[in-house]
């Protein structure tokens, strides 16, 4: 962002109650009291017929950029000055607004977070935010907004990538995406597993090539001119002889589209060009892929790719691949060459995370400083899963003898993991624990990294390539059962004995008090 955004994308991109609470803290002299909030989510996305066993963290770097940029501007303060209650009184006092004007950036906020692109798990603090109570309260909404939706989309994209079995996946969803949120969605998809996107702006921002060829409307234009599909394809091939992917289902895929595409591909070949592919956007994609491949092969176009699109998601892709494998097996044919020419274009269902529309990420107060000491805070709930992990903490990922991640462990900020064995307690169920002998551990990794301090990011902005590498590395070190598309195994998230003891003590105190 090169200029100050307007009130809807600046610091007033927040919920009103953050401001009313901030003023209350100001009035009570609590506004500069150091406070700590944790960002975490409670449940992996559950899409109904399929479920995630992990998530891919995204949205952090745009959040840090926003925090770096954002201040209470004179315009913002003027708007707040104009708020009145039902009695006609000003809602926000000048003292408070003056303090916001002088202090209302994020200069005193420190964020430790798991780096963007990494695999993350339920109930583990992904970002730990420390700073003056009033400001970290105001930050809540923008932080949740910046992290929840991209993490949701990156997670979906990762599943699509897994379902595609190493073949390219393209993000095509901006037309049905959520207004300009489609940009955040496109970026998250690229981090999470989409190889490319059709979104031109986001592609350029992320330094990759945008993908796209032509729509049905181009064929229709030629038809309205009294010409036909063949002339439309020929025109396309003339303008893009080395990038020729033809959409073959405007009229009829098998009876018209593929036949015309083959004619044009032959002309291209005659001119010394290599045709790139066809795209199938409707119908029974497994069946049409098989037929199309056979027709292309028969014409000598064994290397031409087949792009599939039209209401795809991870489950559809998985099913199409399973159907092709099955039908080739019945025919005693080797499916690998067909599988290796498929490319998947995924639109609406990715950008909206169809089936699970929102990550339940929350931002919870976990500690407050009193007389220089950090006092852990807790919210007791009737639902045990909703009791957060209190206090200042650290997070480790423990790798087993195979080098696979076996648990994420949350402990107190000043403790070390045991030397002989590690005892891992279930975060919500009392008495449920597991022991790991030290000799069965190959690595203990600290997950939280300081990313923001003094009003600036303190780690360099990662490239798309770096974020993707983090995801790929983490996925390779994750148990295959946890990576399943359906009914994944449950990854262990645990508390150390000391952390468990603090949680139990606080719950008891809160219930007694």
């Amino acid at each position: 962002m090169s200029s100050h955004p307007g009130p809807t994308e600046g610091v007033l991109f927040t919920d009103q109650y953050q401001l009313t609470m901030a003023q209350l803290y100001f009035e009570r002299g609590l506004h500069e009291r150091p406070a700590q909030f944790d960002y975490f989510f409670r449940r992996y996305p559950n899409y109904g017929r399929h479920q995630a066993g992990y998530a891919v963290f995204a949205g952090l770097d745009p959040l840090l950029d926003w925090m770096d940029e954002i201040r209470f501007t004179d315009e913002d303060l003027e708007l707040l000055r104009g708020q009145h209650n039902a009695m006609g009184h000003r809602r926000f006092g000048d003292d408070f607004l003056d303090w916001l004007s002088a202090n209302g950036g994020f200069d005193d906020v420190v964020i430790n977070a798991i780096p963007e692109g990494r695999v993350v798990h339920a109930n583990v603090p992904i970002a730990v935010i420390e700073g003056p109570l009033a400001l970290v309260q105001i930050l809540e909404t923008a932080l949740l907004n910046h992290l929840n939706y991209p993490t949701l989309i990156a997670t979906k994209a990762s599943r699509i990538h897994e379902a595609a079995g190493g073949r390219p996946a393209l993000e095509f969803g901006m037309r049905r995406g959520p207004a300009f949120g489609a940009n955040a969605g496109g970026r998250a998809a690229l981090i999470g597993g989409a190889d490319f996107t059709s979104n031109v702006g986001v592609s350029h921002e992320m330094g990759i090539d945008p993908k796209g060829t032509h729509a049905h409307s181009m064929v229709q234009v030629f038809m309205a001119l009294g010409l036909g599909e063949l002339e439309a394809f020929r025109a396309y091939a003339e303008v893009y002889p080395d990038d020729c992917i033809l959409l073959v289902d405007t009229i009829d895929t098998l009876d018209s589209g593929i036949l015309n595409a083959i004619k044009v591909f032959e002309e291209l070949r005659g001119g010394g060009h290599q045709p790139v592919g066809i795209r199938l956007d409707s119908g029974d994609l497994a069946y049409l892929s098989i037929e199309a491949a056979d027709m292309l092969d028969a014409a000598g176009f064994n290397d031409v790719g087949i792009v599939l699109s039209g209401n795809l998601d991870e489950l559809e892709i998985w099913q199409i691949r399973a159907q092709i494998l099955d039908e080739y097996a019945r025919a005693g044919r080797d499916p690998s060459r067909l599988m290796d020419r498929l490319i998947y274009g995924v639109g609406t269902r990715l950008i909206t995370s169809q089936g699970h529309e929102a990550l339940d990420g929350v931002y919870k107060l976990v500690a407050l400083q009193t007389k220089g000491e950090w006092v852990p805070a807790i919210k007791v709930s009737d639902t045990p899963e909703k009791v957060p992990i209190p206090g200042k903490k650290q997070v480790w990922r423990v790798y087993d003898g195979r080098g696979r991640a076996t648990a994420d462990v949350v402990g107190l900020v000043d403790e070390e993991l045991g030397n002989d064995e590690i005892v891992l307690h279930h975060p919500h169920r009392e008495g449920v624990f597991r022991r790991i002998q030290r000799e069965n551990i190959t690595e203990i990794e600290n997950l939280l990294v300081e990313v923001f301090r003094g009003g600036k990011r303190v780690t360099p902005e990662p490239t798309l390539e770096e974020m993707r590498r983090r995801r790929i590395t983490d996925l390779e070190r994750l148990d295959v059962g946890v990576r399943r598309l359906i009914n994944p195994h449950i990854y262990h998230v645990s508390l150390t004995e000391q952390m468990k003891a603090v949680q139990l003590r606080l719950v008891e105190e809160a219930r007694d008090g």
Copy 2:
């Protein structure tokens, strides 16, 4: 927008294939050929257990503002100049980029549309876009993006408003909303039926008061300080004596929250202030509302409101109200006073349109000018519902003897509705038609209004109040069966005889050709 947005929100907020097609049209000399596209959706949202029978149109005015503002900037053109294909050749030629530079705004585009806020129906052109082929093609993605998501959210908000039975509904969803798309969602919710939003920036932009009081975290802060819920409530009441709404479920709603709230309300009353309400954010909201109302009444706070929140949508609200009515009826009590104090806060499920994540709005080529004549275009599909209504057209809404909207009718641009009777044909099923006698018609309304020409909006920007009035007027004139939350009646969308004849002729020609 006061300054040029960056590449992700400018004219490159488009799909790559729009640009490759535009260049093809340029190469073929078709780029300035007048073309017409219709924007319409095919299916009302179906949320699974409940379904919409109408939609509320939103997003038009932000689209017109964007079109007014947007040009191909030097930065945009530089990015396109930097695109290369796999052979290392420039993808976009200088001639084409020069033409975009000189002509690449929307100065020659004309849009006729149904005004924002109005009730709209499936298969009816909501916006008709006419202009140079290359530019209206490039516009497609941004137009769909600007209209689909807001219309989806306004529709959901309208249903929530209907379910709330005249009581206020508040939009609270930005923390789980789709990045900055949450702003478009908040605005659409306000147009569609939310009375207020917690989104501070959007509230100020739309000229209304943002709503919000405090979160659980405020009570937790006081607990971490060794104080309790009562002290937290007292502090809130001191700072906001005339706006005191207390969230009562941080510890225990009935055993702690409401009791403490009543204590603080008594103190407020002693000081001459009128407490405003309590908020219930978890648990069995029907049961807790009844209990809370009785406790507040017993303490003499009959006028204190009860805000309900926590995973609400139209079906939840409808069920809560039904449960209260039922339980009051069993007890022989009058529920109206309780119903009249309820206020509904709706978050995630509104901003994500839970259950139906994307409107299937499309942008279809319907006519192309050839030698000064408009030639209708059609895309024949195996699915009859996917065959669009061709050609240049007009749209009427016909009101019956009761003054109720009885059908939306699509006809040719130069025809008039019959003087004796109107024959209405089903848009997709041949031979299905209906006759309406002229004496049974009280009004025929032309729905499409010219809104954009010469690079500028030509109608003044409507106020929120105007857009809401359009919705309310349209809903009042809609059959109650169509407004149902579940299994709504099907509203008639029809073609005139002449339009039906054109559609049939084109389908036949396309099938023969």
